[in-house]
């Protein structure tokens, strides 16, 4: 707390820690160590992913709250979930599981398994997008379009937005898979795979949340 009386001894003020904080610094660095010897790129990238996810959550929250408000506005026809969505959900969850298997090879596992399971995860992720597209075509077949149906328009915008974010994740996945071909690990390999894993698993959680919203409020 700021003090009323001024410091009486110069030495006390000049001791490391004086000037606003108790003498013991809880972390060796002020922050995560930055680019110094104490810095950990994996921690930095994971922090960045979590920060980014906060922004993404706000984006989807805005659309979901718009949906809940709009639902009360009348002219709302419930949309039954297209069958393809159950398939796509399974594919996405499997993709995450596969990614985890790959990720756990870091720190002593087999490079072969790392490469294989990354590729499997990528394939399953692509499968998710394909299944989502099939879900869209099933809806169109049923006559639910973007414009005329309020519930339909929310279905499309939520799945499209999520799909776009998944696509971004897939591009990252593809990049990581491709670079993992090389037997020599590049310096930030673990950091990249770790951080990308956080994002990829979050896409799952986000999808499950959106599915819940669509089923309950759609």
């Amino acid at each position: 707390m700021p003090t009323l009386t001024p410091p009486t001894r110069l030495e006390e003020r000049l001791r490391p820690g004086g000037g606003g904080r108790p003498p013991q610094d809880p972390v060796p660095f002020g922050g995560g160590g930055g680019r110094g010897p104490e810095g950990d790129p994996a921690e930095t990238w994971k922090l960045a992913v979590w920060v980014g996810l906060a922004g993404i959550v706000m984006f989807f929250s805005a659309i979901v709250s718009a949906m809940i408000v709009r639902r009360g506005g009348g002219n709302w026809h419930t949309v039954d979930m297209p069958q393809a969505l159950w398939v796509s959900t399974l594919l996405l969850l499997s993709s995450s599981a596969a990614y985890e298997v790959a990720r756990r090879q870091l720190g002593g596992g087999s490079l072969e398994r790392l490469r294989r399971w990354l590729a499997i995860s990528l394939a399953l992720g692509l499968g998710f997008l394909v299944a989502q597209a099939m879900g869209w075509s099933q809806l169109i077949h049923r006559g639910v379009f973007v414009g005329e149906s309020a519930s339909g328009s929310f279905f499309y915008i939520l799945t499209a937005a999520h799909g776009l974010h998944v696509t971004g994740g897939l591009i990252t996945l593809a990049y990581v898979t491709w670079r993992a071909r090389s037997p020599r690990p590049w310096p930030t390999r673990s950091a990249a795979i770790d951080a990308a894993g956080v994002y990829w698993h979050f896409m799952d959680a986000l999808w499950l949340a959106l599915l819940l919203v669509l089923v309950v409020y759609g």
């Binding site: 707390m1 700021p2 003090t3 009323l4 009386t5 001024p6 410091p7």
Partner: protein
């Protein structure tokens, strides 16, 4: 130079504050009880914020004046004062929140009480239907009931700006006028609607305004006490003609109002 800065700060503060008290630009005379209550709240807010404003600007100028002078004393080494901090934080919180709590009752009276099932019926109900860029007013006519209205029936060319169903018994006698006439000292409820985009019904003498939202009906009750003609100025950007979307509120004596109604009935088609 500190002197110059201080003097300028003080001069500007006075120049900003003085016209509020002594300048000619004031709200027009209030014509309802609600408007007078709003004026009271306005005065109180002026008083309290005026004091805070002048004290803060004075202190700022004084600090520059006193400590902007070259002198041998070094700056003081304190870095805060918890007691002062708590004091002015509490004072600010009490004044700010207190002001809005004091204004609660007039807000509640305008907005909470209306539309409640148990509030007494108004003496008159008029529909205000805004459109780009004119105001339409609908009266229920002799039967006292508004006829049903549909947007499909809107036809400005024959004077049915509101889309009232003339074939329906209730709708046959509805009056659609270009001026809002109300009897003095009676409570009129205004039902605010819009045909196209957002508009806002505002009469400075009433001190109240409310958006007209398409798809919703807003409610505003007024009990004007002074006969006269007052301008209604649209107060929500509604397009190119926003600046000239103006109509008139005519507050009339009871007998004048009845005559006006009869006269309007002649234009019924």
């Amino acid at each position: 130079m500190g002197v110059l800065v201080a003097l300028l700060i003080w001069a500007l503060a006075v120049a900003l504050a003085a016209p509020f008290v002594w300048g000619p630009w004031q709200p027009p005379a209030a014509i309802t009880e609600i408007a007078r209550q709003i004026d009271e709240q306005l005065q109180l807010t002026f008083l309290l914020t005026g004091i805070i404003f002048l004290v803060a600007q004075f202190a700022l100028g004084y600090a520059v004046l006193r400590f902007g002078r070259k002198g041998p004393e070094p700056a003081s080494a304190t870095e805060g004062n918890d007691r002062w901090e708590v004091l002015w934080t509490s004072a600010a919180a009490v004044i700010f929140v207190g002001l809005t709590l004091l204004g609660y009752s007039v807000w509640a009276e305008i907005r909470f009480d209306q539309g409640r099932a148990d509030s007494p019926a108004p003496d008159l109900t008029v529909e205000v239907v805004a459109q780009q860029f004119v105001w339409n007013f609908r009266y229920a006519g002799a039967d006292g009931r508004f006829g049903p209205a549909q947007p499909e029936l809107i036809d400005d060319s024959i004077g049915n700006a509101v889309g009232v169903d003339r074939d329906h018994a209730d709708g046959a006698d509805d009056l659609i006028t270009a001026r809002l006439a109300v009897p003095v000292n009676q409570e009129t409820e205004l039902l605010l609607k819009s045909k196209d985009v957002l508009h806002n019904f505002f009469v400075p003498e009433l001190r109240v305004k409310l958006d007209t939202v398409p798809g919703l009906t807003g409610r505003l009750r007024i009990r004007p006490e002074t006969v006269g003609t007052y301008e209604i100025a649209c107060s929500e950007l509604c397009g190119l003609g926003h600046y000239k979307m103006r109509a008139y509120l005519d507050v009339m004596s009871e007998s004048d109002y009845e005559s006006w109604l009869e006269e309007q009935a002649q234009y019924l088609y």
